[in-house]
């Protein structure tokens, strides 16, 4: 492994991180927008947002990415590879995330809503100050899991020839022929990024919990995710990863 190859890898890591951040930002916007829309009183809004979730969760992120990259230009919109990747990941993970938002909003005690109405909060204040602020800490652990899944999915962008980590690994493999070494190294690099992301999200979770006056739970292990729940709380719909 020469210095030039390491340089290639670090460039790849940087693009991977950028892809992850952009798609996560889009996914978060979609998740809150659609998740809140699914609690709407209007039937048509609920139906449309529900249809969005089922469509984008029902199909494969990679197929969506290929569609945006290869099929959309035929309709007259040519997207740069990075944007096709970001859009595909943001839209599909937004659909997964909206289920998290909906679930957490639904778990806020009904009395909170009644209290907010009694205090004559506007609907917007009710959502922001009562519902979201209490639901946010609940959302953090599943969001962490989704973010890791999203990070792993950015590897798909390499198939659109975007110069992220997996793509650089392909170049490195072609120039050195050292498959085991190259792919071994980038697997470790992905693992390190995932570890850092988990730590950052753990901090964010702690802050979110502290802001509503709850002590953070002590959890062991390096990654220690929320356990895959069996039973009624399982994320049954659409077969999403937890």
């Amino acid at each position: 492994m020469t210095g030039a190859l390491w340089e290639l890898f670090f460039k790849g890591v940087w693009i991977t991180v950028q892809l992850t951040v952009y798609s996560a930002a889009l996914a978060a916007a979609v998740a809150f927008g659609v998740g809140i829309a699914r609690t709407s009183r209007l039937r048509v809004v609920r139906f449309l947002s529900g249809a969005y979730v089922e469509i984008f969760r029902g199909t494969s992120a990679l197929v969506l990415m290929f569609w945006l990259f290869f099929a959309l230009p035929l309709l007259g919109w040519q997207l740069a590879g990075v944007w096709a990747g970001t859009l595909a990941l943001g839209l599909s993970y937004g659909a997964y995330g909206s289920e998290v938002v909906r679930g957490a909003l639904g778990a806020v005690a009904p009395a909170q809503r009644e209290a907010a109405i009694a205090l004559s909060f506007t609907p917007w204040q009710r959502m922001r100050k009562v519902f979201l602020s209490q639901a946010l800490p609940e959302m953090m652990p599943p969001f962490t899991n989704l973010l890791i899944e999203l990070l792993k999915c950015t590897a798909l962008a390499s198939l659109l020839s975007i110069g992220e980590l997996t793509f650089e690994a392909k170049l490195a493999r072609l120039s050195t022929g050292e498959s085991a070494q190259v792919y071994g190294i980038i697997l470790v690099l992905y693992f390190v990024i995932a570890f850092v992301v988990t730590r950052i999200m753990r901090l964010a979770e702690r802050r979110a919990k502290a802001s509503v006056g709850r002590a953070p739970e002590i959890s062991g292990g390096l990654f220690s995710r929320t356990p895959a729940v069996t039973g009624t709380a399982a994320p049954a719909a659409g077969g999403g990863k937890p």
Binding site: A61, L75, Y190, A194, P227, A228, A236, G239
Partner: protein, 217 residues
């Protein structure tokens, strides 16, 4: 530009359905591998010996937190140099199965933890040997609880099989790409593939929800 052509869809449908067959085959075989391996990981993680539990835990975390696509490339390019040559489909099934086994291990773990402590105590009280405790008392109750969650991972795996196209498995996306590369018209093939995914995964998820209501109370 050109508009949607149903005639073209009719022409390419046989190839895409052939790809669907490969996709389903990879999903089913991959599921079997992940169900079996996941149980092995889950039991190993409960091992009283730290020398078993710790390395298995490390491997499981590593595989779960790294991309499936890169793992597939690793298997595809590296296994042959170790003298293990498999067809692309078998390599893909190994990759899918291994990756998802780290998820199913979590599912089994939760299922086993969900068996009430009284069942363990009863097994001890009846002087059941360790093996019988697992096969006759704990696992039958745990497995019943985990079926819907495992089903969800089957759907997730189904939606990840297009990645196998990257290691030249002739799945749906691979077929769509091949067609697109010859006709220069990607619109119909990729759209049909996307719709087929929804058409299959959405009813399956509804079915699982129904199953969950029956099995888990």
């Amino acid at each position: 530009m050109n508009t949607w052509s149903w005639g073209y869809v009719g022409d390419i449908l046989p190839d895409l359905l052939k790809g669907l067959g490969v996709t389903v085959e990879a999903t089913l075989l991959g599921s079997l591998v992940s169900f079996a391996l996941g149980l092995v990981w889950a039991l190993a993680l409960r091992s009283p010996s730290r020398w078993v539990a710790w390395p298995v835990g490390a491997v499981v975390e590593f595989v779960r937190n790294t991309p499936l696509l890169v793992q597939l490339f690793f298997l595809f390019f590296v296994l042959p140099s170790w003298g293990l040559t498999f067809s692309p489909l078998v390599t893909g099934v190994i990759g899918l199965g291994l990756h998802y086994s780290t998820y199913t291990a979590e599912v089994y773990r939760a299922g086993i933890d969900g068996v009430p402590a009284g069942q363990w105590e009863a097994a001890v009280a009846l002087n059941l040997p360790r093996r019988r405790t697992w096969t006759a008392v704990i696992l039958p109750q745990a497995l019943r609880r985990v079926v819907p969650a495992l089903g969800n991972y089957v759907i997730a795996m189904f939606k990840d099989t297009p990645m196998l196209a990257a290691i030249t498995v002739g799945d749906m996306l691979f077929q769509a790409n091949t067609i697109g590369a010859t006709t220069f018209d990607y619109m119909e093939p990729i759209t049909v593939v996307g719709v087929l995914f929804i058409v299959i995964s959405y009813p399956t998820s509804l079915l699982l929800r129904a199953l969950e209501r029956r099995l888990v109370r």
